[in-house]
């Protein structure tokens, strides 16, 4: 079987392999190389060693958007997971309008980030005029605006995953706990939560990476205003490339740091949750 399929390599694998290499792998390797270069397009790159990296840590705005992004990610991860879990809990009960409610919570997910950004811009600016402010009065307003927006968008998605997790809990388990006299909250704490751990892992992973990589919503809602104080990392990197001639090398170095941040957090999260999942099955 193995050998006769192998002969068909040019038909089955080669086209995808070539495209993957040209579109993803080559730009990735080129990106790492370019972060050690001075350049204005990819053909005039000159090797300058580590020169770009110290410059990026001197960049106050980059440092600001680094911490802005990290705190945003932590806040949204916690809020979305907690809210989605409780909504899922409520919507797995015998409720008449259950399907309608699920649909309502899920729909914002299908709307793209740019559209969402402008929808929330109108709503939040309208609300903030009552206190004489706008979304771009300070970085804080942009921060909480984005938190609201992302929660609104992603609670439904995570809710679906949690619902699947809750529905997978064997019926006997909760029933046994009930007979043993466990109260509702005890059942949640000791039966439901440990059993939905796999769903929790997926949702933490998704919310973490989504938060870190947020771009479209940021671009549409505040565009980084005022004076780049609501600029998250992805937008900061974009603006360095396309808004500041002569800083392409620094931009690429920022991108490498950004990649390392996302990869490290994703791997750490994966490790932690793997160890947790083992405990549950023991």
């Amino acid at each position: 079987m193995n050998r006769s399929v192998q002969k068909y390599f040019p038909i089955f694998l080669l086209p995808t392999l070539i495209v993957f290499t040209v579109i993803f792998l080559a730009p990735f390797i080129l990106g790492i190389y370019l972060s050690f270069c001075k350049f204005t397009t990819i053909t005039d790159a000159v090797w300058i060693g580590f020169f770009n990296y110290p410059r990026l840590f001197e960049d106050i705005i980059f440092r600001h958007s680094f911490w802005y992004t990290v705190s945003f990610t932590i806040v949204t991860m916690m809020l979305i997971n907690v809210l989605a879990f409780f909504v899922a809990l409520a919507l797995t009960k015998k409720l008449r309008g259950k399907n309608f409610f699920r649909t309502v919570f899920f729909i914002p997910n299908l709307i793209g980030g740019i559209i969402l950004g402008y929808i929330w811009q109108l709503l939040l600016n309208g609300l903030l005029t009552f206190v004489g402010r706008t979304l771009t009065s300070s970085g804080k307003y942009g921060f909480w605006g984005l938190v609201f927006l992302l929660c609104w968008q992603q609670i439904g998605y995570m809710m679906i995953i949690y619902i699947a997790g809750i529905q997978n809990i064997p019926w006997e388990l909760t029933e046994a706990a009930k007979i043993d006299g466990a109260t509702y909250w005890q059942r949640i704490r000791h039966v439901v939560i440990p059993m939905v751990m796999p769903a929790f892992n997926v949702c933490t992973f998704l919310t973490l990476t989504n938060g870190l990589k947020l771009f479209d919503q940021n671009l549409a809602l505040t565009h980084g205003a005022p004076s780049r104080m609501s600029e998250m990392l992805a937008l900061n990197i974009y603006n360095t490339f396309y808004g500041r001639p002569g800083y392409e090398g620094v931009g690429q170095a920022k991108a490498v740091v950004f990649f390392l941040l996302v990869a490290t957090i994703a791997l750490i999260q994966h490790r932690i949750t793997l160890s947790k999942e083992v405990k549950v099955t023991e």
Binding site: V5, Q6, F12, L13, L25, A90, N109, I114, L123, F241
Partner: protein, 282 residues
């Protein structure tokens, strides 16, 4: 017993009512956009929360303005073309690649599989600059060219998902077909492909949601004088100094949401299934 049932009924009634109110609140941002799309420009920022009555009412003029300013229907056409073409190409190529990878186990396919996993944690900003320059050199700036770019970008996660799904297909059927003299091509197209139909739907939907809403990739790669997708066209309404024609914006936002709602109504079941199985695999 009877008493408890009554209590339960009342409880479920309040929960229903509570969720009904929350649902209305949840949909409010979209309702707000809909209301404002019928208002004269000047009133949208001034009093976003009032209902468009006589002097504020602007009929469908916002829609006409928005469609004219953004070239909405052209953008809609290109969005459709790019999404559908990319999804077909991605699903076709990646399912073949995935099948080859799990049937031919050697060092090469193993490395490619690991690279696919790796590509999933690389943020777009990391490859953004080299990719946009590279695709310019390769003249991928047309809607057909961007399909290839999407294949390169989507292949990692798609191959990963297909491999997860393909593991459930028993090897015995294929071996029997092989003994009967089927070539690998016949095995794939006559036996594996029909069995994978549900997987194709799942993967297609997840990819379509991503490509339809993607902003940055088409913005950087397409020749924007000729081709725009919907998110790109909407972002174009923001003028050079951040000024936005709010009237046109409201109209276009409503128009952009309509296809999404239709898509959801038509494919609700598959979308939910896609999210769940995507989450389990991810």
């Amino acid at each position: 017993m009877n008493n408890e049932k009554k209590k339960n009924n009342r409880y479920s009634f309040f929960l229903n009512l509570l969720f009904f109110i929350i649902s209305i609140g949840y949909l409010y941002p979209v309702i707000l956009i809909l209301l404002n799309s019928f208002k004269k420009k000047a009133y949208i920022s001034k009093s976003p929360f009032s209902i468009p009555f006589s002097e504020m009412f602007f009929g469908i003029n916002n829609y006409i303005n928005g469609v004219e300013k953004t070239g909405f229907f052209q953008a809609l056409g290109w969005s459709f073309f790019i999404t559908i073409a990319s999804v077909i190409v991605i699903v076709f190529c990646c399912s073949m690649a995935a099948w080859y990878i799990i049937r031919v186990k050697n060092l090469g396919t193993k490395i490619f599989y690991v690279l696919c996993l790796f590509s999933m944690i690389v943020p777009f900003q990391m490859v953004m600059y080299p990719l946009s320059k590279l695709s310019n050199i390769l003249r991928l700036n047309s809607p057909l060219g961007i399909v290839i770019v999407y294949l390169g970008f989507g292949s990692g996660v798609t191959i990963f998902m297909f491999i997860g799904l393909l593991k459930s297909i028993p090897l015995e059927i294929e071996e029997a077909a092989m003994i009967d003299g089927c070539s690998p091509l016949q095995i794939f197209f006559r036996i594996v492909l029909p069995m994978m139909k549900p997987m194709y739907i799942t993967v297609s939907i997840l990819q379509a949601m991503w490509i339809w809403n993607d902003y940055l990739l088409p913005y950087l790669i397409l020749d924007l004088k000729k081709y725009k997708t919907i998110p790109v066209a909407i972002q174009y309404l923001r003028g050079g100094y951040g000024s936005i024609d709010m009237g046109a914006m409201m109209g276009v936002l409503v128009l952009a949401i309509i296809p999404i709602v239709i898509f959801y109504i038509l494919c609700q079941k598959y979308i939910i299934e896609g999210v769940i199985s995507g989450a389990v695999k991810g």
